[in-house]
């Protein structure tokens, strides 16, 4: 089985991470920022699976499963926080919220 070189996987992961980084820096809506954070986490998962496959071990895939589960937990908590904030303040844009300022 001829293999795609490892650098292609890493380049794709870097591109996905960069897209997520750009989205985190530019978007205002909290939902979109959470989606971009998920994109960055999935690029890290792609790196893990690529290295796991190219070193003939399965540890990276187990790490990827843990990372996916933690990303699911983080997304659930984040969406719950944004839902509570929207219910209290009727705002979802992060530049209009100053409830953590003392």
């Amino acid at each position: 089985m001829t293999a795609i070189p490892l650098t292609f996987y890493l380049g794709l992961a870097a591109l996905l991470f960069s897209i997520g980084l750009y989205g985190v820096m530019t978007h205002k809506s909290g939902i979109r920022i959470i989606m971009c954070i998920e994109l960055m986490l999935n690029s890290a998962n792609l790196n893990l699976v690529a290295f796991s496959s190219y070193t003939d071990t399965l540890n990276g895939q187990v790490f990827a499963i843990f990372s996916i589960a933690l990303a699911a937990a983080e997304a659930a908590v984040g969406f719950a926080i944004f839902m509570a904030i929207y219910r209290m303040h009727d705002k979802i844009n992060l530049d209009e919220l100053n409830i953590l300022r003392w």
Binding site: M1, T2, A3, L6, T7, L10, G11, A14, L15, F17, S18, I19, L21, Y22, M25, T26, H27, K28, S53, Y54, T55, D56, L58, N59, Q61, V62, I65, F66, A69, L70, A72, A73, E74, A76, V77, F79, A80, I81, M83, A84, R87, D95
Partner: protein, 83 residues
């Protein structure tokens, strides 16, 4: 607050440029062909063995984390009206 898209785009492009030059400048010590065992083409069994032998404690901790985050998310999203 107005978000400037150009600095964000510059930062993202700089990031991907640095990472891609680092990736393609490194000589990765990898196998030339992906290992393939015809007797066992699936890796589900291997992942299950690793989860339940070597990574058993992180797996249990992960279950506790998932349960706690689920309860916390339900508590925060439920609201205060129907308590």
């Amino acid at each position: 607050m107005r978000i400037n898209r150009l600095p964000a785009l510059l930062v993202a492009l700089l990031f991907v440029a640095v990472v891609v030059t680092g990736i393609f400048g490194t000589s990765w010590n990898t196998v030339s062909e992906l290992p393939e065992n015809p007797a066992d083409p699936s890796n589900i069994e291997g992942i299950g063995m690793l989860i339940f032998t070597q990574y058993m404690v992180p797996f249990e901790v992960l279950s506790i984390v998932l349960l706690a985050s689920l309860i916390g998310a339900i508590y925060m999203a439920k609201g205060e009206g129907n308590r």
